[in-house]
């Protein structure tokens, strides 16, 4: 022990001396964290952060509850039996399948993998991944409430998501030749049975599991959003009125934040004073379709080249669609 003290004490004391000398030379007071925490910036950050989290909470809970109920009651066989053979009908079917599976994209990838394993064609699966998180009743309700004085945002969100997903689906059906899957899907049914009588506990169990799976993205996203808003909110205002730049910023933000589609409307609504409505539409439609977290999950199923092309294609279609919608709505 003695030798260790002798070995490390001089450099340690030397470093302390340097630090004290530095403080003396610069005569700066020691940084005081409590001053920052008491400042108005922090209070504003706290208010925005808590408000986004609390308002999104009911919807994320509803989402995980419905998804657990479906996971227990609706089997993949039922969906497969009603899958149409005609490609056009199949794409439309995949667009509205989200009505049956109102879950975020995080809950979607496992469902999709199972459906493809049971013979669903890849282009339909992709359409479902794109459309499902937006075109469902919970997302509509949360958007409608978040933009309570501008209900047209909710309708535009649904319409654009439908159009964009269908367009991407047709392009894939027309031009996709190679098998996009990473591995040929190995046999291995992940079905599990629940004990009789354990229905409520089954729902509660799945729900809390999914809540902890998805909630972290919401809380992180709310934190980053609150930080952006309270630190550079003013400079965002000038950017948000620009044409293409506001769309690109919102698309990038949606990709990085990776919010759940059931709750992202509240984040978007907090930007509504600074950004144009059509760029918020980009955020609301592109975010659930392609984002950081979704890319990671897509990569576990599809080849990376396919994921890259799909992401670029979708981003292009959605941004073009949102700008077009903005132009059209300004005509009337």
């Amino acid at each position: 022990l003695q030798s260790t003290v002798i070995r490390w004490a001089p450099p340690f004391l030397g470093m302390i001396c340097c630090a004290i000398l530095y403080q003396i030379v610069t005569t700066r007071p020691l940084p005081d964290p409590s001053a920052f925490l008491a400042s108005t910036d922090f209070a504003a950050f706290q208010a925005v952060f808590i408000s986004i989290v609390l308002e999104a909470l009911p919807f994320i809970l509803l989402g995980v509850a419905v998804s657990s109920i479906l996971q227990i009651f609706v089997t993949e066989d039922m969906v497969r039996r009603y899958t149409p053979r005609n490609p056009a009908a199949g794409i439309l079917f995949a667009c509205v399948l989200g009505l049956l599976f109102p879950v975020c994209e995080c809950g979607m990838i496992p469902v999709i993998r199972r459906l493809m394993h049971k013979g669903m064609p890849a282009y339909m699966a992709v359409v479902f991944i794109l459309a499902g998180p937006v075109l469902n009743p919970i997302t509509f309700a949360s958007t409608y409430i978040a933009f309570h004085d501008q209900p047209e945002v909710a309708y535009a969100r649904m319409g654009l998501a439908f159009a964009a997903a269908a367009a991407v689906g047709f392009l894939l059906y027309r031009f996709m030749r190679k098998d996009p899957l990473r591995h040929s899907l190995a046999a291995g049914d992940t079905r599990h049975s629940h004990r009789q009588g354990g229905l409520l506990t089954g729902i509660l169990g799945h729900s809390s599991e999914e809540f902890f799976e998805m909630g972290k993205y919401l809380i992180l996203g709310a934190g980053i959003t609150a930080f952006i808003q309270t630190s550079i909110g003013d400079s965002l205002y000038s950017m948000g009125q620009g044409g293409l730049s506001s769309h690109l910023f919102m698309a990038g933000l949606a990709y990085v934040l990776s919010l759940c589609s059931t709750s992202d409307a509240f984040v978007a609504a907090s930007f509504s004073t600074q950004f144009s409505k059509s760029s918020l539409l980009t955020f609301l439609v592109l975010g659930p379709m392609i984002d950081f977290k979704g890319t990671l999950m897509l990569l576990s199923v599809f080849k990376s080249r396919f994921v890259l092309r799909l992401s670029l294609l979708t981003a292009l279609v959605v941004v073009a669609g949102a700008i077009l919608t903005g132009q059209l709505s300004s005509l009337f």
């Binding site: 009911p58 409430i145 599990h192």
Partner: protein, 104 residues
């Protein structure tokens, strides 16, 4: 294995209780309307009830695991090992509750 499972249940139960009690704290002190628009009040209060139910269920899972020594939930459940990553995730969840109680 069981020990880490029980720790997960306990931490989750505490976090869920924290969210639920923060909402009821704001509601009791009349500060809830300051954070949201009026029509979200009822859903948020209801979600406090749901969170409480989920917290009770986590406590139940922990107790069953302690007493019988086997997992009570269905086998599809996957709990990550209690490493740094899991700790960070739980810290993220605790953040709004801590910030909320601290700021008020």
């Amino acid at each position: 294995m069981n020990r880490s499972r029980i720790t997960h249940y306990v931490i989750r139960g505490i976090i869920l209780t924290g969210f639920a009690s923060y909402i009821s704290f704001l509601s009791k002190t009349g500060r809830l309307p300051g954070y949201m628009e009026p029509r979200m009040l009822l859903p948020v209060k209801l979600s406090a009830l749901v969170l409480t139910a989920m917290a009770v269920y986590q406590a139940y899972l922990a107790l069953v695991t302690i007493r019988t020594g086997r997992q009570a939930a269905c086998e599809c459940e996957e709990l990550p090992p209690l490493r740094l990553k899991a700790v960070i995730v739980y810290a993220v969840f605790a953040l709004p509750v801590i910030l909320g109680f601290w700021g008020s």
